[in-house]
Amino acid sequence: MQFRETIISIKNLTKTFGTGHAAVTALSDVSLDIEKGEIFGVIGLSGAGKSTLVRCINLLEKPTYGSVIVNGQDLTTLSDAKLRLARRDIGMIFQGFNLLMQKTAQDNVAFPLTLCGIGKKESRKKALELLSLVGLKDKAKSWPAQLSGGQMQRVAIARALATDPSVLLCDEATSALDPATTDSILELLRDINRRLGVTIVVITHDMRVIEQICSRVAIISDSKVAEVGYSADVFRKPKTDAARSLVLPPGERLTGLKSGGELIRLAFDGSTSDRPVIAEMVLKFGQPVNIVYADTRVIEGRIYGHTIIRLPDDRDISIKMQSWLTEQEVSFTKED
């Protein structure tokens, strides 16, 4: 194990909106440690409390109880002025991009710098450097309305990085983008993480986002952290119902057929290279299997995802198939 340093430490965080009967507890006693330099994912269904959690990290939302320590500083104890200074070290991007629509791309990126009192010329110069970092140097003079969603998010990323933050918070940053654009934005985030060493916290409801860039993930369910672990582990062997329902949405679990042989779930965590395991198995045993559910993708030549198959009625063949899968080092679990 390499030495790890905690950069964000969330302790017993509780957030309640409203009072009395109308009170909504969005977060209930959440504790999490995020390590310096990692890409940490937070996933959960809509309304689980993800946005509230990330907004508590830069105190856009004031915790009802608990503390948020970033770079050794407990933000909940800071004065307004000190908090504003601390926020310069925490960039944030959003689902809706939130660009200033009446400013050019370059001035959007320069904006956080001018807020700190840095001169216009110097701010613009740095903004241009950041725009080239995100691949949009030629769009410096464009208005946000002239940019595509992916380009707007790139501008927003450049803007969030303007003050050289050590943390970048992303609240559903790719949820408004199409799959190809999502991939390119995730690629950019990974690149930024590697090149600049920025710690990134990614909030999403989409498991694919976690798979693609997060080293570790926390699953938020009903205002609580249900599970935290390495993405591959959580993805392959979800321990909690909350995790299972995210990895495999419940609607799809039921599309299975009532009768037939054993139902097993194959988990691909990237350790199997891209080869047609199921097809090979079918050919080898000369018996068809029924694919009940499949959600896999190939990333850098390795397979990630899940497939649920119904093995043949014949118990003998079913057992042989299972041991063959074990030989092939394909991990699977029995579904009920």
Binding site: L60, F94, M101, Q102, K103, L169
Partner: protein, 215 residues
């Protein structure tokens, strides 16, 4: 006659523009304060918000002609007289600043909450958000609002002719109505209509060219 009409036009223009200026000097900060201190604003302050809201609502609900007469003592105190176009600026401003406050409030509320949050996440102060986010972002809407305010004040200034205000309204009343000169009346109406159309056109044009969300 032409002289009379021309000086009436200038007086009306003067009354209107000076009143617009003062109405904004008072109304703009109040409108912005209403937005900032609102429960969903960036610095909620229930008391301040309620007090400002009440002042604005009361003044807004008094019909202009009544306000015009009611503030005569105040007008005398400030201007030394209650007649003439300069004196009329006082009731015009009192009637218009609450309107300006509401117009500003409406424009400022159009600014996307997300943009304000993004600015907060960058460490912007409340003042920076008002001056560098809210105002520039809603500029096209502010310009449109200014055109509406100007046209409203123009209408009020004409009305003030009834009780001794100057300008086109006074000419229309004194010559057109009391002396039953329908030609003068029509000319006054025509000039007022042209002025309204002019301000409207100006507002629409500048609002459009300043808006970078379209084109």
């Amino acid at each position: 006659m032409l002289n009379l009409v021309f000086s009436g036009f200038l007086e009306t223009l003067f009354m209107t523009l000076v009143s617009v200026a003062f109405a904004y000097i008072i109304g703009l900060p109040i409108g912005l304060a209403l937005v900032v201190t609102a429960p969903e604003g960036i610095k909620p302050a229930r008391g301040v918000n309620a007090v400002l809201g009440v002042i604005v609502n009361i003044l807004r609900s008094v019909p202009f002609l009544i306000l015009l007469v009611a503030v005569v003592p105040l007008t005398r105190l400030i201007m030394g007289t209650a007649v003439g176009s300069a004196a009329t600026v006082v009731p015009l401003v009192i009637a218009a600043f609450p309107f300006v406050a509401r117009i500003i409030e409406a424009s400022a509320k159009e600014v996307d909450r997300g943009v304000i949050e993004a600015s907060l996440s960058m460490g912007a102060t409340t003042m920076q958000i008002v001056t560098r986010v809210i105002l520039p972002e809603c500029l096209p809407s502010l310009i449109n609002g200014a055109a509406i305010v100007t046209m409203t004040i123009l209408g009020y200034s004409a009305m003030s002719g009834i009780v001794g205000g100057g300008g086109l309204g006074a000419i229309a009343i004194n010559y057109g109505y009391y002396r039953n000169n329908s030609q003068i009346m029509l000319i006054m109406i025509a000039i007022l209509v042209i002025m309204v159309l002019f301000f409207q056109g100006l507002g629409t044009y500048f609002s459009r060219v300043s808006d970078k969300r379209i084109n």
